[in-house]
Symmetry: C2
Subunit: 422 residues, 2 copies
């Protein structure tokens, strides 16, 4: 097992200005390959701190990945510190310097003399060409480890990580064997992580050839069933698919789908496939469902838009909900949800209408309709239905996020003809 250590360098990571996301992203990328970080450190732009951290890191790991401190200013001292730790000097990397000059020339800007610093690398290092920015990456042997140095800018970090580091790790880890980390994702809505863990406990114990990973993407939990195998081994892949299906069944109805696509993408796929359109009538979610759907490029092929009928007057005036319906049953009711969904279909000509009306809090709840009470209405070719959910009151933002996701989920079932309707 190759031991990898992450060393993030920069004052801005320690004074609350910037979060170090490179470490988590690296951990994530390694996990996909079946590797793990053995540790991580963050140090300020200080020579003594960086050198002490380098010595500590190489005592713990085979590969140390540094991020940051490769810029052109005087507080960017990563290369100098690595050279000092390795007791070597600096070398001037002519090709990197020429690449920088060409980048500046291409933009019609004379290159500041400062940038020359970025071509000064540890004498014993080899260069990693950075196609996304001026600072080259480099790899320096230190003690019995290798130090891989990347810029801290996430885009450049990911480029060097994915194009140089991960392939090297993959090669070393496999010793020539063509195995990879294969995975199947299961999306779960409406169950807590601990509850899923309990349901999967026996499954995890019973199948030692797969691992189960959990990831929270509130309000969803994404479960990954992971196996190391040769991607050409159809037997292994069939077994992975079988086990993933077993895990999904074991979790139950809350595990609503396989794969990596979020709810809004699934809804759009259904609609595009059927050449049908959708309009929204949102009350408590205040535009959040429309926002999620239109986040997806190309949404305009199926999403007409809709009405945010936050005030009851808009439910009546813009959606045609009878005022008597709201008076008699309340704005948060089966009848109003149905009338909203039907109204948005009638007024926009969409194939489908989805409505949401609920109590998001913190105010507006009652004993009869507490915060978290939500009604969803769906109008479409098979007719009009309403679905009721009592969501847990985890606060206004979370109730709204849950209501939006649940609305998309309910719609998805209707589109798939899974018996919500009729």
């Amino acid at each position: 097992m190759i031991r990898v250590f992450s060393l993030a360098i920069g004052d801005e990571l320690l004074d609350g200005r910037v979060a170090d996301n490179n470490t988590k992203d690296l951990g994530d990328a390694l996990a996909v390959m079946g590797l793990e970080l053995v540790g991580a450190m963050t140090v300020p732009d200080s020579r003594a701190n960086i050198i002490a951290a380098l010595h500590h890191a190489v005592s713990q790991a085979d590969v140390v990945v540094t991020s940051g401190g490769l810029g052109p200013t005087s507080d960017d001292i990563t290369a100098e510190c690595i050279a000092e730790a390795a007791t070597v000097g600096l070398r001037f990397d002519e090709p990197s310097y020429e690449r920088m000059k060409a980048m500046f020339d291409g933009r019609g800007i004379p290159m500041p003399e400062n940038n020359r610093r970025q071509a000064m690398l540890p004498a014993s290092s080899r260069t990693l060409e950075n196609q996304m920015g001026t600072a080259p990456g480099f790899v320096t042997p230190l003690a019995r480890a290798e130090v891989w140095s990347f810029p801290g800018v996430p885009k450049e970090y990911r480029h060097l990580r994915d194009d140089y580091l991960l392939p090297m790790l993959q090669d070393r880890q496999q010793h020539g064997k063509p195995s990879r980390l294969l995975r199947r994702s299961i999306r779960v809505l409406g169950l807590a992580e601990s509850a899923i863990g309990e349901r999967l406990a026996l499954f995890e114990k019973g199948h030692s050839d797969v691992r189960v990973q959990y990831r929270v993407a509130f309000p969803e939990i994404i479960i990954r069933v992971v196996m190391v195998a040769d991607p050409a081994d159809t037997g292994a892949i069939a077994r992975l698919d079988l086990l993933a299906a077993e895990a999904q069944r074991t979790i139950g109805a809350h595990a609503y789908a396989m794969g990596d696509d979020p709810l809004e993408v699934r809804v759009l796929e259904h609609l595009a496939h059927r050449h049908e359109s959708l309009a929204l009538a949102e009350s408590c979610t205040g535009g959040l469902i429309s926002k999620r759907l239109t986040d997806v490029p190309g949404a305009s092929a199926s999403i007409l838009g809709g009405v945010v009928s936050y005030a009851d007057s808009l439910k009546v005036g813009m959606l045609g909900v009878p005022a008597a319906c709201i008076e008699e049953h309340g704005a948060v009711s089966e009848e109003t949800a149905k009338a909203m969904a039907q109204g948005v279909v009638t007024r926009t000509g969409a194939t489908w209408g989805l409505s949401v009306t609920g109590v998001a809090g913190p105010d507006g709840g009652s004993a009869h309709k507490p915060v978290g009470t939500v009604w969803f209405g769906i109008a479409g070719p098979p007719g009009v239905v309403a679905v009721h959910k009592k969501l847990p009151d985890f606060g206004r933002d979370r109730v709204r996020e849950m209501a939006a996701a649940t609305g998309l989920r309910v719609l998805l079932e209707a589109l798939a003809g899974e018996g919500v309707i009729g």
Copy 2:
């Protein structure tokens, strides 16, 4: 200057499952007091790693804050490792045990025997009562430093940090002087961090009694002018206000406001103050502005809702934009933006209408109207106007975020009577 080090403990922080937000939050809280983290480490749930990290951390800092590893299961070994590093045994903390039992009793659940582990603390430690969970925090002397141990759960971490650690640091730092870190926030929209830095360079050099901090809250940048002073010293406070105003002037018109309130809160305050209402007509932002406004509790007092007129048919059918207007000028045009804003006011009866129509990308751009072209319309008591912006094409999500923020900013100017209208 007190040196603080953050040590995060847990496998889940290194395999990509969970990001360590406690370190950034701690850095942020310290920055507000004028203190900084001198370093941070993350280690897996492994005895050798934790003990090595503790020794490294106490060599760098006066106060080491550990997070995680205080749970009831066998992989929670923080207390044991600290005891071993300090070469002391463990003690059974009876009051913590009794508190746990009472918590379980209160929920009507018998306490699992496992939880007894959480009351086993280093013999030389003192206990920090945790009012948010079962695991107590504790403080253990180690070498010449103090190790403060908190649970990793962010809510419990913040509770122990804010109620025990920060007051201690405050006391020690001040040596009895009543000085605090006072700050003024300036909100900037439409200028990059580096451009603000250039404009403030002379200001920062010229005033050594204040510091300037930068914080990105995309698409806004929040600038803080920070001074250490006695809060009762009215002269110092007047000077801070003066300098903050100077910084705001120096940045220019993009520095649109002082204070911590986001745009949607400012808009809602204006509306509430004037007892006026607002309706939205959103095209490219797809509901995002409505969502932001209705994120704020109590938004229903002023926000009626509106129309997400993503499809042109809804601009015509739901907002009354003349089809000829769209045909002649295009959906992204001054005329359509005005007709949308006027239409949503006419149809909803709102005092004000805000419309947005633009090209969010990735498709739909042209040489004449490239991605990032956005028109905003405002209809209100003074009349109807439209404002044009060419936002940079940083990708669909960012164009939409910028368009939503810019729309709120334009509306705010109109509400404040700052000459957008007329």
